[in-house]
Amino acid sequence: MKAPMMEYTARELMAIAAARKINDGDIVFCGTGISMLAAMAAKHINAPNSIIIFETGAIDSQLEEIPLAVADPRVMFWASANGGLADAFAIMQNPITGQRVVGILGAAQIDRFGNLNSTAIGDYTRPTVRFSGSGGACDVASCVRRTIIFMQHERRKFVSQVDYLTSPGWLNGPEGRDKAGLSGGGPEAVITNLAVMGFDDHTREMFLEAYYPGTTPTQILAHMEFTVDISRAREIQPPTARELQILREQCDPQRLILG
């Protein structure tokens, strides 16, 4: 017997898809917006002993209300320790703790190796569009073991070459990070409004891991400037009633991030 159809938004599915990638005992670095929601959801659903840290210095936040920025006073709620930026980033660069961190990032552009641009479109000194810049994203992407990336799945965002490489993914392939002197891992997944993309263990190239109900692998390719392997793709497991309930009622009842 088929379960009754659950209604949910792409944003809800994105948050839950990311939450499922967080393991119990992980240290979760998150930024503003949906990444915060994914971290909260993981802690409530599948990874109760995961530890949420913010670049602003809040370590092991309990997050009673959803913060609207990483400096929102809500990130301090019942934290283990409040420090500053220097403390937070040292946790990521330190090899012992950094190897346990999963970073959740977003960007304006991404390439096949998961390199991210959140700085500018066009020439750097005369940009046609200027974005916020790295913030802590480059630091996280440089140092920690795993990153998960949130993106809107659009052709102008999945590009052959990023206009400005703000945050390192796998750089130019399997040996890119080692050659550049970067330790840790690199991007593990890209979670979009249409799909979950993985990175091949050998080539470090992006591939389609799972597509959302109502879309197809070929439709997804049409939203990208470059082609990826779609042979391993499967339809994603939809959110369960419990996942949705926790996300909606405990994580973002005002729908500040869910919209």
Binding site: T32, T56, G57, A71, P73, M76
Partner: protein, 325 residues
């Protein structure tokens, strides 16, 4: 720094004394939290120009300074104000229109640069940004750097680890120290001597203060001399580095001040809206800054009801259940 016992001053006087056209400056806080907004508005009101601004992710304060035309150059990691402006509106326009020169770093790099200045070393190492355009692309060209002794000749440098494989590291990025003429912070509590206590996250405020030639501290509460010294563990700012102490209740408004008040979502949204349009932004500047004498006048115009709405809950330090839509 200053070792005098009493450094109390009015805000207009403190800004006039320590912030000058072309000054190298940084402000405390992060995005929508504990920016020294009263001081920012006073700088705008005094129409100080050509500032060289150093920011990690200082958010609202940076954007207002840029929008009011006070800034010529900025070294920055992030120009955003959380959900209220994922990219700060004025910052974005100023960069796109080439009204300001901008050079990008990461948040950790900016923190390390302030820390290097505080420690009195010319640089600090990190692995962050290896392989990226943060290393490759300079906002300030070499010619401009050589001409200005207050800018280092290199944006940053990549170096092989001189200790071989020690620390499982092959290469490091060296980031140059920052030393500002003036750094302005807002703290919850300070005394006349300048000893100050920040409650909640300190962001990079402490490193910023210690890397500055002069420091202005604005505070919610100006307390008796020994009130803070009874628990020196909790004071991050020793008095000796501070030049001016200014008592400014709601001095971080419209950004948050932990355990005192939340950010004001109404003000921040209205600002973000008017910043998108030149005429509206001019009207904003007139109505909220130039047309007002000082910060108390701004608070009066905001009204007691709004200030009450954002009052911090004693248990959480923020306004629980505040409507933030």
């Amino acid at each position: 720094m200053n070792t005098a016992p009493d450094k109390r001053m009015g805000l207009a006087e403190a800004v006039a004394r320590f912030v000058f056209d072309g000054a190298h400056i940084s402000i405390g806080g992060f995005t929508i939290n504990r920016n020294p907004m009263a001081a920012v508005y006073e700088i705008i009101r005094q129409r100080i120009k050509n500032l060289h601004l150093y920011a990690h992710s200082n958010g609202q304060g940076v954007d207002e300074l840029v929008g009011a035309g006070c800034v010529a150059k900025v070294e920055i990691a992030y120009g955003g104000s959380g959900r209220f402006a994922p990219t700060c509106i004025c910052f974005r326009q100023a960069v796109e229109n080439q009204k300001i020169a901008v050079e990008d770093y990461s948040n950790y790099q900016m923190t390390l640069r302030f820390l290097a200045g505080a420690m009195g070393v010319p640089f600090l190492p990190t692995r962050s940004s290896l392989g990226t355009d943060i290393i490759e692309k300079w906002g300030f060209p070499a010619s401009m750097r050589r001409a200005d002794p207050q800018i280092p000749d290199h944006k940053l440098l990549v170096m092989d680890n001189p200790f071989g494989a020690w620390g499982q590291t092959t290469k490091v990025v060296l980031v140059p120290a920052i030393q500002t003429d003036i750094t302005i912070l807002h703290a919850q509590k300070a005394d006349a001597n300048g000893t100050a206590r920040i409650e909640g996250l300190t962001f990079a405020d402490v490193e910023q203060a210690k890397s500055a030639r002069h420091v202005i501290v604005t505070c919610e509460d100006l307390v008796e001399p020994n009130a803070l010294r009874a628990c020196p563990d909790r004071n991050q700012i020793p008095g000796l580095i501070v030049d001016a102490v200014v008592h400014v209740p709601f001095g971080a408004y419209p950004t948050a001040c932990y355990r005192y008040y939340d950010y004001d979502p109404v003000y921040l949204k209205d600002y973000s809206q008017s910043a998108r349009d030149d005429l509206q932004h001019q009207a904003y500047l007139e109505r909220w800054i130039y047309g007002l004498q000082d910060h108390p006048a701004l608070l009066e115009q905001v009204g007691a009801a709004r200030l009450e709405m954002i009052k911090a809950d004693p248990g959480t330090g923020y306004a629980k259940g505040l409507d933030r839509r």
